[in-house]
Every structure is written in C-alpha cells, then in structure tokens.
Amino acid sequence: MRPYFEKMPEFGQPLSERQLTSSAESYEEIKAVEQALAAEVARVQEAGLPAKKINDRGQMTVWQRLEYLVDPGTWCPLHTIFDPADNDYGTTGIIDGLAKIQGKWAVVVGFDNKVMAGAWIAGQSENMLRVTDLSKRLNVPLVWIVNCSGVDLPNQELVYPDRRGGGTTFFRHAELQKLGVPILAAIYGTNPAGGGYQSISPTILLAHKDANMAVGGGGIVSGMSPKGYFDEEGCEALIEATRKFKEVAPGRVEIHHGATGFFRHVYETEQGVLDGVKDYMRKLPAYDPSFFRVAEPKTPKFDPDEVNRLVPFNQKRTYSFPEVLARLVDGSEHLEFKPDFGPDIYCGLVKVDGFLCGVIANNQGFLPKGYPEYADYPGIGGKLYRRGLIKMNEFVTLCGRDRVPIIWFQDTSGIDVGDTAEKAELLGLGQSLIYSIEQTDVPQMLVVLRKGTAAAHYVMGGPTANNHNAFTLGVPTTEIYVMHGETAAAASYARRLVKEKDAGKPLGPIMEKMNELVKKYYDKSRPLYCAKHGYVDEVVSLPDVRKYMQAFAGSAYQNPKSMCAQHQMILPRIIKG
C-alpha cells in the first residue's frame, strides 16, 4: 500500500501577509486565554503544602515523581484543572496524563501528596473514572503513584459512597485486568483504608521502604466510642490508643513484603521505586511503531503555531478547516473522502507520526449553491445537513472496518432544523451516527475547535454519546453549550416580550433578564469553565493539539486489540475510486 500512503496529496497554503495582519487581534485574544489557563495550572501545581516542606521530610512531590518517571517531552497532561465538585482544594488531588515510560505509552496518575497527604477528596472519583476509561479505551498500561491517606473524613458523604464514588476504582482495576490491561503501582507513605485498596488493587505493587497499606489506619484501629459520644474520659482513652498505633502503623513493609509478599519489590529510595516501574514497563507488551506505520513520520509542511492565525476567536468569523488540518498532520498530506458529497463535512485519512488516522470535521463558510439538496434555503458551514451526516456515517463505518483510529474536530452550530429537515431524515441520521460510532470499536479523540453545540456535539464523537472517546480537548476558542446564549434568550423570552408589549408595559426588565441569560451562557461555556467541569479533559494551545494527536495515535497503535492488514484496507481504495 506504499503508493497510497508514502506520499499522499499535499494540501494547504502558506499564510498571506493579510492573514498575518488581520489575525492580530484574534491572536491576542487567544494568547489571553492561554495566560489565564497557565495561571490556573500554576495554582493547581502549587496547591497544598509547599514543595520544600515535602522535600524537607525526605520525600518527593507528585510532580517531582512524575518528572523522574516519564520520558522527557512526552507528558500530555489531562484533567489538570478538573474540579467538578468545586471542593475546598481547587483540585481533584490526583494528577494524570498520557506519557511514555521507557518508550511505551501509558496512562500515568499520581496522588498529590501536598494536598491532604493524597486524600480521597470530593470530585476525585470522577477523575479516576476518566483515567481508568482512558486506559481501557487505548488499551495501554495504567501507572499509579499511590500516596493516599484515605477519605477526607469531614466530607465523607461527598467522597465515599455513590454509584461513581471512591471505591469504583477497585472494581475498575479488576475490570482492566480482565481486559488484559496491566496496572503498575509505585507505593509511598501511609495508605490506610481507601489508600490501602488503592495500593492493593493494581497488578504489580512496588513499595518504598517506608510505605504501608492496610484495611484501616491507626485512627480506625482505635475504634468507636462505646458511649455514643465523646467525653473527657473517652478522649483520654483515644489519645492513649492513638499514641500506641501511631508508632506502629499497620501494613508496613515487614508485613506486606516480609509476611504476605503483596509488595513485589521494596526499594530503599524514592527514585528506586520509580526505577522499578520503568523496569516493569520494559516487560510489558507493545508493538514496535514500525509494525503499524504506513510511512515514516514527518513534520507538517506548515508551522502548527499558524493555527493561532487561522481559527478566529470571534465565533462569527469563518475560516478554512483544511488549512487548520494542514498544520497538524504529517507532511500536510491527506486523502480526502468524497469531497464533492456532503460539503458541510470534511472526512479524510491523514498520517500522525506515520500512523494512519481518520479525521472528521465541520467545514466552514458558505456551502455550494444548491446545498442542502432537500431545501430551498442556503447552507452554511458548521450546520449538519443530510449528505454530511450520511458521509460521516459511511466514513466512521469504514474506519471501523479498516481499524483506523478517528480524530474529530467540532465547530458546529447544530443539525439543520424545521419540517423540511425532518422530512430529510436528519433526526434519524444523527442517531444513526451514534450507532455507527458504537459499531466501530476503534479509539477516538475529539477536539472542540470552537462551538460544540446542540445534538451535533453529541453525535460528532462527543464524550456524552459514545464509548470510544478516549479524551476530549478544548482549545482557547472552545465554547460548549446547548445553543448560543442569544438564541436561548430569544427562545425563553420571545412570548413574554409580546405579552409585555401588548399590555403596554416597559420591556426593560425582560431585556435585562435576556441579557443576564446571554452572559450566563457565555461565562459557563468558556474553555476554563469547560475544563473545570469536565466537558473537556484538558484545554491546550492550538499548536499543542498535534502533540496530543501524536500521543493518541501512538497509544492507539501500541497494542491494539484488533487490526486490519494495510493491503486489506478498503477505505483508501474507495477514496482512489
């Protein structure tokens, strides 16, 4: 298949002088979002105790452990500012991302030992769910840096119970092992109760010499007050019991290495434990990248930084999606699928680090005359019409057949509406796309390039509506909402305006409410808001999208559960015709 893939048609044009000057304001607005994001990331990195305090205790922080563990330049953080419970700490207390260790991709996650000694805190279990899902979807190892003091006791009701509560990690670790995904754990410090199960549930347990893990900690061993309340006598008894257990925390190395042997290895130094993880990573199965590559990796012909000049911050301004894509894929080359059918949608095969990936995106701007073919009104890019939906269904199905991972780019204002559109079957075709995606069983990632709106945000590979989304990225231009705030305000208050007008009342109070709603929609759809609440798994700069595409493609092809011989692929032949 070398003639298909080695050199695919190039696309894209160099930026013009005019584009450089006319994008200046938009560029600054994008940079302002990046700065706000950097401040948030710094806040999370500095959460809890100062690093010096941890280091003075002879321990490394989670950030130092991660830096030591992962291959330089491969760290792709996820969920950095995720804090869905809006807890007191401003973080979920775990740090995670995709990274290479000893040349192999893994999902890496560590307890932030600066924050409540790595406690289970509100919102953390949602983050853990995403982490285990990511490993499952990409079929790559999960590597834990465990240092977990157990449940944040004063807030236990927000942490411990519920269908998606803290304990689900343990069964998810069991599920991953059932699926053949190994979980490695580097274990540090005191890990009682929840921390004990965080430690015991992985596949290989590698412990620091001072680590311990147990069903319960010293405090729990001390027991309940037999009186049902605490008085001075009860407190004195508790003090005595605590002093005793403080000195001998249960589940130390002598127990779980010496007696049970649960700790596979014990290391004298903090770095030694991480060296142990690296050693086990070397033992795990992974295809050499050359097994699946369709060509040698190439950088894009155009600088990825130019994407900052192409995607307008002003949501009303249009742009060319293929020009954006040309700056993100190997050699700025592609094989476009059915460019003349369903012009609202771009579908094409591209190479990312030499790996074949499918790309699906919304084209922007005016669509050719006569499209959509079922209506007497014109079409505009960003909307989904009949043939675009059919094309996506076909392309997704063929990617599934050829085992090609899919990268989605959304900038959509929704599916076409009205009786004409209903007659054209759009409701059914949108749902068909969800069905088609579900049939593929190939990993997918999503970039919400600008608008993720209405059901189109679901059907175009959105995390809400499929099992195959590994992660979703936001960028400085991302907005996610059910509809634009102005549309929502009109829908909510139009009748009320008529009523007030007919009654001769002033419109001011209604207008105020409408404008409040518009502002609320705006504030609650911004990139940082989306990241905090988990609508996206991370916000990254526009040029960094390529780095995440590389992590995604490398992970997806590292150890896939199924494959298609390149010479048995049908999609490139259909494109060639």
């Binding site: 009303k316 301004r317 249009t318 701007g365 005016f366 505009i380 204002s413 634009h484």
Partner: protein, 70 residues
Amino acid sequence: MIELRAPLSGKVWKLECKQGDQVQQDDPVVILEAMKMETELFAPAAGVVQEIRVKEGDAVEEDAVLLVIA
C-alpha cells in the same frame, strides 16, 4: 469586467476595499453577514475595483451584484 455577487441573502458587514483599489484574485473584498456568520467574499479575479454598488449595513438579496472588478 467581472462582478462579485452575493452567494446568499444577508447584510454587508464590512467593505474590505474601496473604489480604485488594485486587488489580486482571492483577496477578501467584502464581509457578508448571513445566517449569523460573518463570511469573507474574495475577489473573483485580479484587477481594479471599478464600482462598489453597496455600502456597509445594506441588506442584499442572493445574486445581487456587490462590486465590479475591471
């Protein structure tokens, strides 16, 4: 003489050229606001903008001539 026509009904949001300007093919010359989006319209050929038949804020019908390039 080559005419630039509105691809669909909308409002002239911005004129990016003025009468007498020398333009190259594919230079943006008009921004049309239609269907809630501001879309650039490009010069269909190189030449001099001989006549501009609309002004900013004008509502235009589909196929209306916006400007003429000679």
